[in-house]
């Protein structure tokens, strides 16, 4: 990618190569997305009745983004930004148009040849979707127009002042969020007896049918008006919070956490079963993610076999509380079983931790992955079938009996409260440990293991403790899973689980509790867990694709996650930090990080 630096002021000639390159990628993406089956697979989910479905959305954002990207110019610090002009608009238009051409070729291809044999989505449905069921004559000009238009819009976004851009994206995301979260909002509204609101907002003809055109427009206007009304007060508050001395910030954080806690306890009362089920899943994975956050985020050990501890928790609980455990069925109370869960988790943590603890970071990752697989294969094997039931697993796990309440899968609210309890515990533990002697030892070990050791830290013990703490949290999650589902079987404990939790931690923000919470809410809540559907059930078969893409994207563009911890973002952006500090004349700075040796 060449960033041409032209003399400022003058409108620059169009950088054709760049525009065409991005246009080509745009076309390629559109065609691949179509052939992977996203548009057809998600066409049923209507966002704005009758004009926009989730399927179309997956096509529409591509030219928009590429129009934007094609005109992005890298501006170096201190170099005068080049004025953008008509050439940029042209570039955006070209990129979009090429995307349209890509789709045109695809449509023509769909019409003329049949290569459905390898490409399963080379189907009449795709053709009908792309041509709006009106034939090529209609489809081709429309898509050319739409793509070029969106590319142009993307380019125009650059010409607008930053404020306008922010408002636009806020409106766009807001409308989409309201449309996507229909089930939740519906449920909430019902709880607060605000049905009139959702009746006005949504099309509603059986099931989730999306916004109506009018309500979308009104909503957009309202959302656009909001920033004007608040007049940047929100941003000021956030800035204030960020710059506040640590004491104040702590207090604000506590208040925030308190508010969230109250909401967590109160909201499920008025929410319906589906949303509570979602929340219970979110909690289950949040618990896992909090544990992995300690292992990966704090101690820096990339444990890819984390699911093993989840399995250990699930199986321990099942064996001890199920009436159907093949070998040993004491049918204990969940609470007593929990004690054993802790013990077993610690044992498993030590057993898996000890052999890997001295290995290099990346070997550790693969070996733990191997351990995760071994554990699952053992639970699955005929060998241990007399103890753990093989592939059928253990069924009839008794519901958790807490006085007047019973926690069982048929009552997702009760499961949510159980999970909430454990999550609260895990959050507290993570928070306290982070700022303690042990937490500092973890950080030091992550930074430079050799030096940590030379400074008197027993890194082996510190790492083992991270393993054990993480393992315990995962095992609790497994225990709740067993109680929730009422059974355990090896299929729930595939490597996939480890990877998805890793994605949750990374997308949320490694090493940051709030980040992990946001990560699991967004990802598990919307996309769903490995076997648990999320809010967008249509994603089911594309979930992993999106998880994979998201992981790559985050590592490339925002490795510190959505809600980064201050430390981590400093670490990943050392240069910028130093620059800021230098500009603010606060810190001494020096270019050379390395000492002459």
């Amino acid at each position: 990618m060449t960033a041409t630096l032209a003399p400022s002021g003058s409108s620059v000639a169009l950088d054709w190569r760049r525009a065409l390159l991005w246009g080509g990628i745009c076309a390629l993406s559109l065609v691949s997305v179509s052939l992977i089956g996203l548009p057809v697979g998600m066409n049923k989910r209507i966002l704005i009745e009758p004009v926009l479905s989730l399927g179309y959305l997956f096509l529409l954002w591509i030219p928009l983004v590429f129009g934007y990207v094609a005109t992005t110019v890298v501006v170096l610090e201190g170099v005068e930004a080049r004025k953008s002009g008509v050439a940029d608009l042209l570039a955006g238009l070209t990129a979009g148009l090429m995307g349209g051409i890509g789709l045109t070729l695809l449509m023509v291809g769909l019409d003329t040849v049949n290569i459905r044999k390898p490409l399963v989505n080379w189907s009449p449905q795709l053709f009908r979707l792309l041509t709006f069921e009106r034939g090529l004559e209609f489809g081709i000009p429309v898509w050319l127009g739409i793509c070029a238009g969106l590319g142009l819009v993307g380019a125009v976004l650059h010409q607008l002042p930053a404020v306008a851009r922010r408002v636009m994206s806020w409106v766009l995301f807001g409308v989409m969020a309201v449309a996507i979260l229909e089930a939740v909002i519906d449920d909430l509204a019902e709880g607060f007896h605000l049905e009139w609101l959702t009746d006005a907002l949504y099309y509603k003809k059986g099931g989730t049918e999306g916004l109506t055109v009018t309500s979308a427009v009104v909503l957009a206007l309202v959302l656009a008006a909001l920033p004007v009304v608040t007049g940047g007060r929100v941003k000021a508050a956030v800035d204030h919070y960020r710059d506040a001395p640590s004491e104040d910030r702590r207090r604000t954080s506590l208040v925030l956490f308190g508010a969230i806690a109250v909401a967590c306890v109160g909201l499920p009362m008025i929410l319906g079963g589906i949303v509570n089920e979602l929340l219970a899943n979110v909690g289950l994975f949040l618990l896992l993610a909090l544990g992995l956050n300690i292992v990966v985020g704090l101690a820096g050990l990339l444990d890819l076999g984390y699911v093993a501890f989840f399995a250990v928790g699930g199986y321990t609980t099942s064996v001890l509380t199920s009436s159907n455990s093949p070998f040993f069925a004491p049918e204990w109370h969940f609470g007593i079983a929990l004690l054993f869960v802790v013990v077993m988790a610690a044992v498993a943590g030590l057993l898996i931790g000890a052999p890997v603890i001295r290995m290099r970071g990346d070997y550790l990752a693969i070996v733990t992955l191997g351990f995760g697989e071994i554990v699952r294969l053992l639970f699955l094997s005929d060998w241990l079938k007399p103890y753990f039931g093989g592939s059928q697993g253990i069924t009839k796990v008794n519901p958790v009996d807490i006085g007047p309440f019973k926690v069982q899968g048929s009552d997702p609210r009760s499961v949510f409260y159980l999970v909430l309890f454990f999550c609260a515990l895990a959050i507290y533990v993570s928070w306290r440990l982070q700022g303690s002697r042990l937490g500092r030892a973890w950080m030091a070990t992550r930074e430079d293991e050799q030096v940590a050791e030379a400074m008197g830290i027993n890194t082996v013990n510190a790492k083992l403790m991270a393993f054990v703490v993480g393992a315990t949290m995962a095992a609790f999650s497994g225990a709740v899973l067993a109680a929730k589902v009422g059974s355990v079987f090896p299929k729930s404990f595939e490597i996939l689980v480890s990877i998805i939790i890793l994605v949750v931690v990374i997308v949320g923000g490694m090493g940051n509790i709030a980040g992990v919470m946001v990560g699991s809410l967004v990802l598990i809540g919307i996309l769903g867990g490995p076997r648990q559907p999320g809010l967008l059930q249509e994603f089911q078969s594309y979930k992993l694709l999106i998880y994979g893409a998201l992981l790559v994207f985050m590592m490339l563009k925002r490795p510190e996650g959505l809600v980064p911890s201050a430390r981590r973002s400093r670490e990943l952006h050392q240069d910028e930090y130093l620059q800021d500090a230098w500009l603010g004349d606060e810190a001494e700075t020096e270019g050379d990080q390395g000492a002459p040796s």
């Binding site: 399963v120 001295r358 191997g370 005929d382 083992l464 594309y542 994979g548 992981l551």
Partner: protein, 462 residues
Amino acid sequence: MTGVMRSRSARRVTGVDRFLTLIRVVMISVIIIGFLAFVAQQIDPDNPFARWRNPGARGLTGDQFKGLLISGLSQGSMYGLIALGYSMVYGVLGFINFAHGEVFMVGAMSGFITSDKLHAAGWWESNFLLSLTVVTLIAIVTSTFTAVITERIAYRPLRNSPRLIPLITSIGVSFFIQNAVMGLLGPATKSYPKLPEWLTTVRSVDLGRVFVWIAGILVVAGLLWYWWRGGSREKDPTADAGELPVSESELPIGEKVGQVAATLGISVPALRWLVSVWIALLLLGFLVPGKVLIFAITGTKITVVTVAAVSMAGLWYLVERTKTGRAMRAVAEDKEIAALMGINVNRIIVVTFAVGGTMAGIGGILWGLLFRSVHHMTGFLPGIKAFTAAVVGGIGNMGGAMAGGLFLGSAESVAPLVLMEPLGIPGVSQLKDAVAFTVLVLVLLFRPAGLFGERLSQEDRA
């Protein structure tokens, strides 16, 4: 001011060390007991020791054992081919390219598509060899392309980040490719078209004779090479001057050996190694009674092993004997210095990925021939096992990768029946994958640098 001193009594062996020793001892004992039980059951299935754990002990016939070994070796040579890609990328960039298994899968997939089309056109049957060549070429191109593209998009921007970051990214790439392929081609398992009769028939091969033949070919090739190199060296005295192996060894004939090695253009240890292999081949060929070395092998397996060996040799030549290979080794040792020496580091890294992709593509086709079935998850386990093979052989070490692959493949195929069944474990074939990972754990427990030692740059060793 020195605060309170709490001097603990010196503990030389930590608890963790003790525990590790315990694990080692337990694992080794289990292996030994399993093996003894196996031996006992081979001697006589009614032997009380064999009956002890496994009342149903039957014992393996020699042919069964040979069959296990052969399928293990053929699968292992495939692991080896994939492992080369891991090993090279790790050697050069210092990170585990988790998505390399997917590169292999893409090769196998594109091989399937091509062969399926050729089959539909009738060429697969009428002109098998040509079709296979086309299929292989297309698989290689697709795999190479996939490997290079992932490097460009996902890994290059992360060149200087902490080593776990590209690893995590590659996990994402791996999932993305798996599921994109599933979306594009559907989740169903795909079957390669039927292979011609002559390839699938079981032949009985006398490996003793094969060994003797190989030994003979080695001698002839060596002599020809010696003669040709000797001539060219006289003509151009500066050729390879920098690579002369300077090993004035203690023996009086040492110098002579050195000269021979220099003329052959290999190092003295390599020459010694070659000679010992040669002797071993001859000994095996002549001394082992004929029946033992007669194996019943399908043509496919012969093909797989041969192709793997040839590819390996080609790769060895590329890395050790060409300018590009030398540049690769330089980049592996130190990227910055290599750049200062005028090496285009980016190009070399791309070449590394491309070569790894090529090997994976070949591996993919071999997989297609061997198992005739492929789906979007085909790359996942073989990928991890191949990485295991690379680690077992010592990462960064190419011969080690191949040896590790063979070792892992045969362990995986032999161990369940030889070590586990005699211990009375039912359904041992389910634990095949567990064996592979156990091998990894075992090897790293005993030799953290792999069986044949790592070849890493200074910074990666730390």
